[in-house]
Symmetry: D3
Subunit: 339 residues, 6 copies
């Protein structure tokens, strides 16, 4: 079985139950999540071996995060246990015309303050086939940037496939800084995933690429992918398109390209249980499809189905098996009770 | 007041709250349900006298199931209390494009292992006007088949009207066996209820009838009903049509026929709180309408309104009064707060 | 900062969780609400100073209601604490085609039985800029009618702007009595808010005005507003139009007029978390917009956005800030997660 | 099987979860209870036939109370369904040194306002062997007093055994009025149950009887019982003694007498889940023991075990079977897990 | 009415329900608390006017903390709203032999990073009669120390009574640093409250005072109080003695002294709902008793009853009225249901 | 790190919240547990490597049980995934004088029906240092007996230490059969753990050994241990003594012996959160202590502390680290909040 390593921060997520606002909450629901951790859990549920690398304090909240990963079969033996605090984020789930709100309280986390020397990537990447990271990690701190570079260099040295979800977070860093940093990392990347953040990459000025991206159709993406291929030599590129109808209703579609041909999945409307981690589920589905050597059209369908099913699942992580994804694809949304 | 007897299995239903998957659940919500028990509760809530016949262990879970029936006024004095276990089913409620999943753990239940000799139908049917069963009961075990036959013979002997919801469950038995058994039981049946399972009945080969049924329109059903009337001499036939838009959105329509004329209700889209027991609510509404001697058009509307309102109610059973059904029909979906 | 006083009853609201029917509930969710209290909380959340005047028993349920108001910053120093009981209402939330049901148990509340002599409006209105009441208060009891009159006279004496939400409740009084009483109170009113209840006011026979109102379009309201202006001399009139698609889906639109020109907001479809208090949120938004001297078109948009966002919030009261309302207006329903 | 009828009010009980104070509660737990309803449920759980007589509104809260009684097998066919409201009480459960608080909101209930003419006791007492009431019912209203008298006269006419739990509630009436009324009712009573309220009965001045009762030992009760026997000719008298150590810890002991010999159970310390309804469980155990013709010593043990086990059960009613009570008696508090 | 100002940090407290360990929790219960905020809420519930001063971010969690204070009537108009994060602490409640665990995540809070210049104590102390702080505030950061000094100087200037709860927290600072700092602050303090931390104050070497304190009896405290009076000239000194029997059972006793005479309350065993904030409830009771000019013996009883009742109340803050405290004192632990 | 393998059944445990009876429950709390699984989780939490061997269905409930084990770091790679159902048990937690009740529904589980051929113990025991089983496994079915024998033979072949918790369950088999079977297995056992079940072993007639055991003191156990050593040659024997005061209060003491010298821990009273799995926590503590080569006196203290702390933890499994056990031992029950 193929083994995928992901690197990043996992946070304690706290959210009011029953679509209450935070000021109304007398309890907060608990899950543990973060972009790269979500990808690792998604992959493990799909049936691959995955390993998540981070640093977490020794206290019982850190242990809970590790237990959460373990429960879904993710390897946690490379998680460093030390430091003061772990990142927290508060999620007030929106409904209809009321947007979701996120309050980050992730500064000074054990991971953000961790040092490249703490990570032995030679050992971490033993037997690894794939390494996935996202644009969140280098944004956390300069040492996190250093850790990312260290990981990427070792991955390249070992010939491991590298995927990156560009994942721009405006609350973490300025766009221009993000653009510069992310562009510089692309030399290590084989598979590039992202939507609007594709404008992060410096081929064009914002205006031109934004104009293309704003149309938000697979056709337009085809043009962008061709340009990106030319500039960075990516093996594959993918985008998860979202048209938001309301806080609990989206239309979703996946696009995958090798730079020459671009394949797009069907576009489906989904009613939402939990939107967080949708993009990570897309990445997990994409990596799974590519590892399994699916046709690119099938990769697009598989990644989009994973993306879509995540929206119906509570929490950050995508708890669906490959056979459930495949059943969805072959059923085209037949949702009768299976009994 | 008319008295309806139903016979079948009632199970402990366990389902995760808040659309969680089973693997995420740290508690499971509890209701008690089963096709024929749901019909009995539905009828009692509509205002008729109903009695449910089954066998349940003496332990406190069995007692809870009895209490659940009692709470809605269903007669439970004919329930046999003995045996080892009661059936359980786990329901993972789907949402949007994620289907609901049912895990049955009903083998070897007290009812499935009960013996015809335990049931004194002469006494059970004293003062009864109607007997309802479904295709689930004969599927449970050979002794359950024997119990069904014994009940049907006694019902016929007493001149009681008999209704049957064909209710094919592929996890319980093979289609061909079901077809053979169910066809053989039709001689006792006055009112035949069902949808796709109508193809169970042996008038046609699968292909022809399936072809008709697949169109899923009242018009097509008219043809099937005429053929069924001819073959089995049913007094009434009915079907509850469902077009599933997603796991939480369906379009529903009821069709009722005397073999000569077929009447269909309006078709309504419903957003779903709990889909389980919808068909049972249709049966309860149908039986109620027929017992009250409504015009067949009104029977179709009443049965469909009962079917539809069930989808908005938590649990397996339809907790609506006849006046609520009638208010729905006369309001055509006016849902302003009544204050 | 402007200070708004509202007068009325606040009740203990009890509702089953998870869209259960009352008969299924083993616990009831608790909020405290009432038309005028909701307006006071809404205004405080929008950023104005508001004060709620009522009478509540000294027991801990009364204290809880006061604490609920305090939590949102509403002034409660003018609440009289005495008497036997507070009003209660049970809300069974509907879903889809199942309507919400309200059971009132509000007779003989401390407020309904309170005496005009207990209220020192000269003191209550010190520093007040606006007084808001609704048609519910005079309907509660004859002493509540007397209290209302006393408040209105003092408000007029002090030159305070007075707004009235006509709010007809058929469970509280007969239409003809309501029409007579409410019409007599209009001489004190500067800003008149309402929908169908506009037919309460005696300018026309029911038939003519009803005919106009039934069309339920801003255009028709324009005609009514002109007539009301002529008859009562209102400074402003407003209506919150609701087209109910189901118990959890409405289309909402706000209309505001000075009698000469009528302005209507966009019409938006909203999926509903809690519909109660929507009209009160509209009133709060309207008062806010008028106090801030917005253009009437902007008042209409602001009041409607407040109206609409309330439907996405649990409880009776609108917990949104002015900046959230404004963000909604400028985003036109962009509901991406803000992170 | 013997059939016991009880008459009284059943209320909606609302209490904060997790030992919260009312002001902290965002939900309230729901049970339905009242002295005589609790006795009826207790008896049904012990295995006798019991019937509860009251009046309840037709709304869904009234229906829920009926369903609650039905769930435990209590006959509810004699409950009158009409009127405006049902009684409510709020229970803030104490803990340790913090006392429980009850807020009654029971005035003007359907039962309190019901009329003797509504009750057909000739029919209600058909096949009845025993009638039980308490001092709460005549305290509710003068018509409730009339209903009580009417029931007592019919019970006497039919030769049915009558038991009364004196149950003095100082929030309902003045002691001197209670003493006069209750004393006048004793001529109908065969079995008199009570503790301090025994001083209600007018044989002595308060001082003398209070002095005796204050010692609170079975020995002292023996003297009181002898005097009561002499004065009222009771067949049996009983008292449930409670020494409160804290809000969650009591020592309990039962005393039963025929006026000649007095028998007392063992005294046990119990940790408390829910203290409400303890006295009613004692009455149910006593009635059960007397109906089963136990020796008076065994009656005392059985009634006290029922009393005690109730304290370990959530809600107002005693959900224990006769065999569980007997196991407790024979085990002397062996509480190993039974597996 | 007297007005008391308290200054400090209020945190978001998160604790697993039902005595679960953190690793088992899928939700965390929410309250807001902190030593000086707890005193302010306690005083407001007792019936005094209290004002809490701190700094909190503008986000909805900060607003929730303000709402929590408002709900109990605490003045929040002097709370500064700005900064990045608020302090969090996780409380895993112990049971029996398993200790409670606290995980602090309070570093870099808005309050800890706030500047003395942000606080206008001249305005804050307008109309104030009393200022209370604790040893936690100067431990948080050097700027918090500066804020404390600034407040103390202004309080002295205005002649306001100052009380200090020494409250040593070993997770916040070293003992020797704490001793030095706290000793230096005593010149501003009129009323000194504390237990073991009394050894903080530098009159003795640790050994001698510790030896006295270890005996933990009122008698020993008398000696310490005399020495403290001599050294610091305190007007009053008080200690809340706790003998821990288990994580849910303590024996509590209060001691109050003017340096000449020492008065101790009764010692009571209490079963615990929530132990956090017990000492703060003692301080609130003490301040209340002194402000009301109770005899010192009565002050000791009142402060200890407040201390004790807090242990029976969920959350950090003491939600008891003065009359409840007094009823406890006069009842000596009579905990019968009040109905 | 040492690696311990345990073999047995893990069940879905369902229990009503809040000390409700099953008939009152509208939801059931979920944990997964079973004697040998509990030992594996306990050991993993203490810090050893543990592996649990069983068979579970592929459905999501089986997956949840695996996830539960994974969350605590137990190796699950040797769990066979197949078969129809998993065992269930319902636990109604007792309180005070009301005993806990267990309803087993474990017949025909995947494990009970599994075949020895499915288990490759040569591979399972690779790198293993210790094998633990209990008397429950051979009681489940004859194939489970065969699996046990197969495991024991392989363990002996590999020279792995074997421990057995005799764990007699009267609901699973007859005492005489149990005695015969368990005695026959003792030849493979190095460490024998048990209490009353020691009378299972055939050295004595029941009467004599029972008489010794009934005294339930360490002293008496010393005699029994000496005789067992003589008969079976055990290396170590241990017993966890329990004196039950009520359903939520026990006195616990551990005894360990090498047949020559017997060591007993202190006896502690514990208030109980969850009693299930106490014995398993004792076994885990014992195995840990022996593997760490503690003195036998320290083994007794460690095993008893583990036993005792389990009673304060929700669920079947002991979630305590070795350092928490050691802190408990060194603190002698100091339960102040650690902050």
């Amino acid at each position: 079985m193929k083994r995928v390593v992901t690197l990043g921060e996992i946070m304690l997520r706290l959210s009011p139950p029953d679509y209450k606002r935070i000021i109304q909450a007398t309890s907060l629901d608990v899950v543990y999540g973060g972009g790269e951790a979500n990808v690792a859990i998604g992959l493990s549920n799909l049936g691959l071996k995955s390993s998540f690398v981070t640093k977490l304090p020794k206290h019982s909240i850190g242990t809970s995060a590790v237990g959460h990963l373990n429960a879904y079969g993710v390897e946690t033996s490379h998680i460093i246990r030390n430091g003061e605090r772990m990142g927290i984020y508060f999620l007030e789930k929106g409904y209809s015309m009321r947007s979701s709100e996120v309050i980050y309280d992730r500064a000074n986390s054990a991971f953000a303050k961790s040092d490249p020397d703490e990570y032995d990537f030679a050992k971490i990447f033993e037997d690894a086939d794939w390494f996935h990271f996202s644009g969140i990690t280098p944004a956390l701190s300069s040492s996190c940037y250093d850790i990312t570079i260290k990981a990427l260099k070792e991955a390249k040295r070992k010939g491991i496939t590298v995927s990156c979800d560009l994942n721009y977070r405006k609350k973490l860093w300025e766009f221009e800084k993000a653009r510069k940093v992310m562009t510089s990392l692309m030399e290590y990347v084989d598979v590039c995933i992202g939507v609007e953040p594709l404008s992060l990459l410096d081929q064009f000025g914002n205006d031109e690429k934004d104009a293309i991206l704003k149309k938000h159709t697979p056709l337009e993406y085809e043009k962008v992918f061709a340009l990106l291929k030319q500039r960075f030599g990516f093996k594959y590129m993918a985008a998860n398109l979202r048209k938001s109808l309301s806080a609990n209703r989206d239309i979703l579609q996946g696009v995958v390209s090798d730079g020459t041909n671009t394949f797009s999945s069907g576009a489906y409307e989904v009613e939402i249980v939990d939107r967080v981690g949708g993009g990570d589920a897309f990445s997990a589905g994409l990596i799974y499809g590519l590892i399994q050597n699916f046709d690119l059209q099938d990769v697009a369908e598989f990644a989009n189905a994973s993306f879509l099913l995540k929206h119906t699942i509570y929490g950050d992580a995508n708890i669906v098996s490959a056979s459930e994804v495949e059943r969805f694809i072959s059923n085209n949304g037949n949702t009768l009770i299976n009994r």
